[in-house]
Symmetry: C2
Subunit: 346 residues, 2 copies
């Protein structure tokens, strides 16, 4: 959409859940995730099947929090990084919920929230929509780069695909049974796939930062707002390299983020403790940090308004071998706190 | 959606285009496609990049038919079979239109039409949406099975990924500038990913037929209609094997398709001339046949109502090697003829 989509009836995220692997649980946000598996296997005997289990587990946890069964969900959007998005289709996709598979690389969490909001706005028949995204470090490394056993050296700009997943349940905010405290999606802006000529698969931050800058600049230009109208401007997984580039690109265009920018990939790991180079990445990175950190802050009223952009590097190993470049993309949703709790301190 | 989605304002497919490779152009529908390249390369030096060119070319042709530029399109849904859906992102996705990548395997054409209809119904800001899907035989064979040069023997149930693409431009049917003859999407039903235990990557028809049966049975159960309410019930690429299974599965459930079933994968090739075994498949198969055969029949008023289900085999080579099975999925849209031309013979 060339314009910002404003949802006449906002969409509530009425339940959500997150889960991570061992390295992520050891990071600064470790205590905030709903559960973790230090073996990264989630009960399966391969990394790939472990990610399928993770996909089902986070959705089941979100459902149990809402006191609902999968039969009460009308539609599921899901995606991941495995070829043919099989962690999603064989994971939560196999639970019998009408299913739409997405591929937005690491931007899939926000693409899903955006499409779920459109589906709820379009159709009265659709009352509850689930969004699930996951990623798995070991599955991604051997598919996109080298098997972990190879012990390849990584460059300083390389990022660390997070073993992580997030699940979100959405409904129209005027559903009478919903907790009014639930955070809301009030607007969205679809990202454009931008080719900045980056061909280095170990520098996804540089490929994604121009796309994030494009979406942010379009958003503020269209809305007439300024960064200080938002408590946080959250990107998915630009990492340290991409975050620095984003700030620079925006400054060149006259936009100062005024200390409001946070990046889930930077937040997920402690660079002094974990050897993650430029920071975390992966479809599960932004999803798990949104569920564990930012949505609870909105629920408690500590934050009131967030711009949330997941960032995707649309890259393919075979395309890079054929001389292609990595396109970046960054869809955006506006997240706002629900009604304050009575007697709350917000 | 557990219910059928009825679009209060129908969505018009106001322009569309198709293109195929050499084998498809030699088939029974050859003369109906808008253009073809007998080399299957579409001006590029690799099969994979040829599919990118195809993706841009079909969208550009649809745009030129509508007399529009890419800047007038608000949103693009696209997907293909290459890993990371790179034929779409580096193809039409790189044309600057706000982009949502999809992965529904060979069901992506219908998934895209369905989500485009939801987006148009949800948001007044969204006036024109494009849907593009492609597939390429040589790119798919070496990615999913074996390089063509290997000359592997194929089993009788194997299907032939079509080198083909289709592009569709959609808008709300009440846009005053639209040709009222344009076919309309009036309803939709999201598919469920079904695991029937099929693990043979050379028998996708068997994996997809139960999903197509599930969607068709749910549709008629929810709508109270019968197959004779539709002129055609079109599946995407069940092929000969899957089509026979579909008819049998429906008959077991008391539903007789009454000669109304057609399968794009069966229609695309002449089995006596082309060595395609059970028939065509691929994201581009249903898209190109819909654009070349069924939409023109609706435009001419020869057909009035069609159920269109693209069928997807959610399979991954690495997942099959790890003992996984192939899930089938079949989203559905109801296509209806627009207003008859004045003085027409319909």
């Amino acid at each position: 959409m060339r314009s910002i989509i404003r949802f006449e009836t906002p969409v509530s995220i009425y339940a959500h859940a997150s889960a991570v692997g061992g390295a992520e649980a050891d990071g600064p946000l470790g205590a905030l995730f709903d559960f973790h598996d230090p073996t990264d296997r989630f009960g399966a005997d391969t990394w790939e099947k472990g990610e399928e289990s993770l996909s089902r587990a986070v959705l089941n946890l979100a459902l149990s929090r809402a006191g609902q069964s999968q039969d009460e969900i009308d539609l599921l959007f899901s995606g991941d990084l495995q070829n043919q998005c099989v962690a999603s289709s064989a994971g939560c996709g196999s639970m019998g919920i009408p299913y739409c598979g997405l591929y937005g690389a690491c931007s899939t969490s926000c693409e899903g929230l955006l499409l779920a909001s459109l589906a709820l706005s379009a159709s009265r028949e659709t009352r509850r929509v689930a969004v699930v995204t996951t990623s798995h470090n070991a599955a991604a490394e051997r598919q996109f780069r080298l098997p972990l056993e190879y012990g390849g050296q990584r460059t300083p700009t390389a990022q660390w695909t997070a073993t992580a997943g997030g699940a979100f349940l959405l409904a129209r905010a005027n559903e009478p049974t919903l907790d009014p405290v639930a955070p809301r999606i009030t607007a969205a802006l679809v990202g454009r796939a931008l080719d900045s000529g980056v061909k280095d698969g170990a520098n996804m931050g540089a490929a994604m930062a121009p796309a994030a800058a494009d979406t942010i600049l379009r958003f503020f230009s269209l809305s007439g707002e300024r960064p200080y109208d938002y408590d946080r401007i959250v990107t998915g997984d630009l990492g340290a390299e991409g975050s620095a580039l984003l700030v620079e690109l925006l400054r060149e265009n006259g936009l100062n983020l005024a200390g409001r920018h946070r990046d889930c990939g930077v937040l997920l790991f402690d660079p002094l403790k974990a050897d993650v180079h430029a920071g975390g990445s992966g479809c599960g990175c932004s999803a798990s940090v949104l569920s564990a950190l930012f949505l609870p802050a909105l629920e408690r009223g500590e934050l009131r308004r967030i711009l949330f952009l997941a960032t995707g590097a649309l890259m393919s190993p075979s395309n890079l071998l054929q001389g292609g470049s990595i396109l970046g993309i960054a869809p955006l949703v506006v997240l706002e706190a629900g009604k304050p709790k009575k007697g709350g301190t917000t």
